[in-house]
């Protein structure tokens, strides 16, 4: 069968760079599934995009749809045929519905019953006839932000300026918002001109002649190699931020990298400020020396060729100079701000309308941080540093620099705190208390930073849960999930065996005191415990722990988090070992029967009736003693599983649910005590050993 190449290009006013990659992937995958659904054979879908166009080239598209042979099942034979042997109404209706006649019917047996069938044959249509349907595909693209223009009803990423739609050399006829599809495209806005695409396969080359590199990957590579040239020519190191590069490649159709310089005196401004100013505001790449110092240069990528590069560089220098002069001004102004004055200002900064001011939040965080510090038994020096860090953790929020560059919160806090005479521990911890800032970021290194970070995040989560802002589905506007994961990660990295349940309780009580709870403390607590449980479940999944082991681990309570993780790994390994099943079954029996105990009391050895009871009691006492001394992990696991023979013996000779009330209660007491010990490791009866 003969084939042709298919080209679609949607010409648009400049699209937002951040939406281009997703938009072109969407167009390509929608076109691919349209072709598949239409049973139109093709070889490959290639996609191209620039700020002004989304384009797809499909190679070797079949001229016709595939023919369809299909068998349709109708009524049973006894219904299809009347008693007189004539076709019934049901049979006629069936064939009519299939676009056939009763003459086409044949019978086929299914599960012993004969049914009427017809064989349908649908002849494939010509592809060229179907292609105008692509109009719907194009208007059906969805974008994160849509707009209308002029008098048009269509909501789209940006106004549509031209459409190229070609099947081979033939134009596919349709139009959208008054723009008729054709074989006319447009080149670079300034360097190129309008052009006629001779044939789909020439698309890339013909646009390159008009100064448009339509392949996003090629543009990216071009920028990279131009940057490398600049590095080599000047002996610089230009660290290329991947996100920035991805954005820049989608800001230009024909990239040319160039560099400019700024006054050396601006290097007195903290490096982070300079880098943020260059990257965020201007999309420049900062330049470093080989030994890693920031140099007074920058690299920018122009949407054009090499003409007048000098002029473009001078212009960009002028802009950056003004920006840096601003930053220098803010930096100078901030020197006048005292920490006390900044803290006073925080009383007027609303954190969230229903939660209160930043100052109020800070007081809660400080109290919580101190409580955590006590529980951890940290030394006096660290405890003092934690108290101070929490107290002033947010002071930089009212600085001019953070007002201008919000992403520098904490970073400026560290710098300014040092300048204002705070200890280096406190200064560093102010910065660290925001960590991890994103999924890739690490957790705080110092104990001080870690404690304040945990306290701050816990308070945020508890406060939002208190006012009913609970993440659900894709809705998590305050990134509470990420913060919860941050807390869990920090506890693990620090190997702090704090009970998360306890931490949640402490934090929630402080929030409760501030009077913002919209529901009862208990309801909010349960939501929080469930929420953190899910975070830990997710973490254990990432560690490759089997699902039932995860349930068993979380089921025993959110206490010591590093311990949870360790226990999960022990089970994950042990489950393959001989005797695992038997051990877990024995321990599970204890848990299952202990559930029946309503009240727990002391065990009275005088009520024991057999040696096995006595034996289990002795071993329990020894185990409890060891547990008291703090054994955990593998040692605890070995200790518990070593009880297996005794437990089995016990059940073989003892009827826990005895007739006699006192005997029964005493035995349940023993089971409960043992269960408590087992649950220190895991809720083993959730483990699937079948």
């Amino acid at each position: 069968m003969s084939k042709r190449n298919l080209l679609i290009e949607i010409g648009l006013e400049e699209m937002p760079a951040r939406f281009i990659d997703d938009s072109i992937n969407q167009l390509a995958s929608k076109l691919e599934s349209w072709l598949s659904n239409q049973k139109i054979a093709f070889n490959e879908v290639q996609s191209f995009a620039t700020p002004r166009r989304l384009a797809v080239l499909v190679t070797d598209v079949a001229e016709r749809q595939e023919d369809i042979h299909e068998e349709a099942k109708g009524p049973a034979k006894k219904i299809a045929l009347g008693q007189d042997g004539a076709w019934s109404k049901a049979a006629q209706g069936f064939t009519r519905g299939q676009g056939m006649t009763v003459d086409d019917i044949y019978f086929k047996e299914i599960n012993g019953v004969e049914y009427a069938h017809v064989k349908k044959f649908i002849e494939g249509q010509e592809t060229a006839v179907l292609l105008p349907e692509l109009k719907g595909l194009i208007t059906g693209l969805t974008f994160p932000k849509n707009m209308r223009w002029a008098n048009e009803e269509l909501r789209y990423i940006r106004p549509i300026k031209w459409i190229v739609a070609m099947f081979g050399k033939e134009v596919i006829p349709f139009s959208i918002t008054g723009v008729a599809a054709s074989n006319h495209s447009k080149g670079h806005r300034f360097l190129g001109s309008e052009l006629e695409i001779s044939s789909p396969e020439n698309y890339q080359d013909e646009l390159l002649d008009q100064f448009v590199i339509v392949d996003t990957e090629k543009r990216k590579q071009a920028i990279l190699s131009q940057i490398e040239n600049i590095e080599d020519d000047n002996g610089w190191v230009i660290p290329v931020d991947e996100d920035l590069l991805d954005e820049v490649k989608n800001l230009v159709e024909y990239p040319t990298a160039l560099y400019g310089k700024f006054e050396e005196e601006f290097l007195e401004i903290p490096e982070e400020v300079l880098i943020t100013s260059m990257k965020e505001h201007q999309r420049y790449f900062p330049v470093k020396s080989k030994d890693g110092h920031l140099l007074p240069y920058f690299v920018t990528v122009r949407n054009g060729d090499h003409q007048n590069l000098e002029k473009v560089a001078r212009g960009n220098e002028k802009v950056l100079r003004a920006r840096l002069a601003d930053a220098a001004f803010f930096y100078k102004e901030d020197q006048k701000l005292s920490i006390d004055h900044a803290l006073a200002k925080l009383k007027n900064v609303v954190y969230h309308e229903e939660i209160g001011t930043v100052a109020e939040k800070t007081i809660r965080v400080q109290r919580l941080a101190n409580l955590i510090s006590e529980r951890l038994g940290l030394n006096a020096e660290t405890a003092t540093a934690i108290n101070r860090t929490a107290e002033i953790s947010k002071f930089d929020l009212v600085s001019q620099m953070v007002y201008e560059f919000p992403e520098l919160q904490g970073i400026m806090g560290e710098k300014y705190a040092l300048q204002k005479g705070e200890s280096s521990i406190v200064a560093k911890a102010i910065n660290e208390h925001y960590m991890p800032r994103n999924a890739e970021d690490s957790t705080p290194e110092s104990d001080t930073g870690a404690v304040v970070s945990i306290a701050e995040k816990l308070d945020t989560i508890c406060s939002f849960f208190a006012i009913g802002v609970v993440p659900s589905g894709s809705q998590d506007p305050y990134a509470l999930r990420r913060q919860a994961t941050g807390i869990v990660q920090t506890l693990i990295n620090k190997q702090w065996s704090l009970s998360l349940e306890l931490l949640i309780g402490l934090s929630l009580d402080l929030v409760d005191e501030s009077g913002i709870l919209k529901r009862t403390n208990k309801e909010v607590y349960e939501d929080l415990a469930h929420f953190f449980g899910l975070r830990i479940k997710h973490l254990l999944q990432e560690h490759g722990i089997r699902y039932d082991l995860i349930d068993a681990i979380i089921g025993s309570g959110l206490r010591n988090i590093p311990g949870l993780l360790e226990n999960a790994h022990i089970l994950q390994v042990k489950k393959e070992e001989l005797g695992f099943k038997e051990s877990i079954e024995a321990l599970s029996r204890v848990l299952n029967i202990a559930k029946k105990a309503e009240v727990r009391g002391d065990i009275n050895p005088e009520l024991f009736e057999n040696d096995q009871e006595q034996q289990l009691y002795q071993e329990f006492l020894e185990a409890a003693k060891q547990a008291e001394e703090g054994i955990s992990g593998s040692a605890l696991y070995e200790l518990l599983t070593s009880l297996r023979p005794t437990i089995t013996e016990y059940f073989d000779h003892t009827m826990v649910m005895a007739e006699n009330q006192d005997l029964r209660q005493n035995r349940l007491n023993q089971m409960s005590a043992l269960a408590t010990l087992i649950l220190k490791f895991a809720k083993v009866n959730d483990i699937n050993v079948k």
Binding site: W149, Q307, G315, V319, R321, V350
Partner: protein, 296 residues
């Protein structure tokens, strides 16, 4: 090219595109968008093409005339075209060429920038136009004005006159820009910049300003009840300006801030809705005339 000639050039260019050339509106405002020639006229189905220079007051940006890049009052050249023409980007680039900016010698880009003015219930999508990295123009397709969906959509082009001039004249300091032969921005605006900054940050009376806000707000509501959109809107603008001074003065806490913005927005929405209704009562005369002309 001095600023005066820039303005003349832009006026000539947009006049040739069929824009009505207007003078600045005579009530204080923070941006050209707030002029009734934009805010009100972007509402409803009537065509509207207009260009004007708007002196815009930003009390918080006052720097006593000492900062080379910041001004209490700067100038915007504002163009509104409704419905937005198909070739609006080309018309805009032609205006740059008229100003002597050859796109081949520079790096000109349309960088996403969505615009929102919550206190006026306005939102739009578009770009900031970069000239060698410098933002020289806001380019916006209005989607919503005064809380009303725009239909048809207007396009708004706002040139920052001083920004553009500092590029064209290659000056580092805005006060050294030539307004016309022998007159710099400092000659004309130096003293007012200092005095308005001192007023905003030091000598203004917050209590009086709070009172004024309340009085203006009340009057706006009262005029609205009379169906008098334009007097009412003048008082909305006055509210907004007073709010800006108070905000710059640091007299409004963050909590209160939301409240004041909300009050401005409610007024603006009411004005927008009433303006639409009043034009509707008149039978949208500009649209009716245009349709009649097209018939003949």
């Amino acid at each position: 090219m001095n600023i005066q000639n820039m303005i003349l050039t832009l006026q000539k260019h947009w006049s040739e595109q069929g824009c009505i050339l207007m003078q600045a509106y005579d009530v204080e405002k923070g941006a050209g968008t707030m002029s009734p020639y934009t805010f009100l006229r972007a509402i409803g189905p009537e065509p509207w093409n207009v260009a004007y220079v708007e002196p815009s007051r930003r009390p918080a940006d006052g720097r006593y005339g000492e900062n080379p890049n910041r001004l209490y009052q700067h100038h915007q050249f504002q163009v509104i075209m409704k419905p937005s023409p198909d070739n609006i980007q080309e018309l805009y680039l032609d205006s740059l060429r008229a100003l002597g900016i050859d796109p081949l010698e520079h790096d000109i880009r349309f960088v996403e920038d969505n615009w929102e003015n919550p206190s006026l219930g306005c939102a739009g999508l578009g770009w900031e136009v970069w000239l060698d990295g410098m933002e020289i123009t806001q380019f916006t397709y209005f989607q919503q004005v005064g809380g009303l969906e725009c239909k048809p959509v207007s396009v708004e082009i706002t040139y920052g006159i001083e920004r553009l001039a500092s590029y064209i004249q290659d000056k580092e300091n805005v006060f050294e820009l030539e307004w016309t032969d022998g007159f710099t921005v400092r000659d004309i605006f130096g003293q007012p910049e200092f005095e308005h900054s001192k007023y905003t940050f030091e000598t203004s009376d917050p209590e009086m300003l709070f009172n004024l806000f309340n009085i203006y707000e009340k009057e706006a509501h009262r005029q609205m009840e009379e169906g008098l959109v334009h007097p009412a809107y003048d008082y909305v603008l006055k509210c907004s300006h007073v709010f800006n001074i108070l905000d710059a003065r640091g007299a409004i806490s963050v909590t209160e801030r939301t409240g004041y913005i909300g009050r401005c927005r409610n007024l603006a929405r009411k004005v927008a809705k009433t303006f639409y209704e009043e034009r509707e009562k008149l039978g949208f005369p500009i649209l009716a005339r245009k349709e009649q002309n097209e018939h003949e």
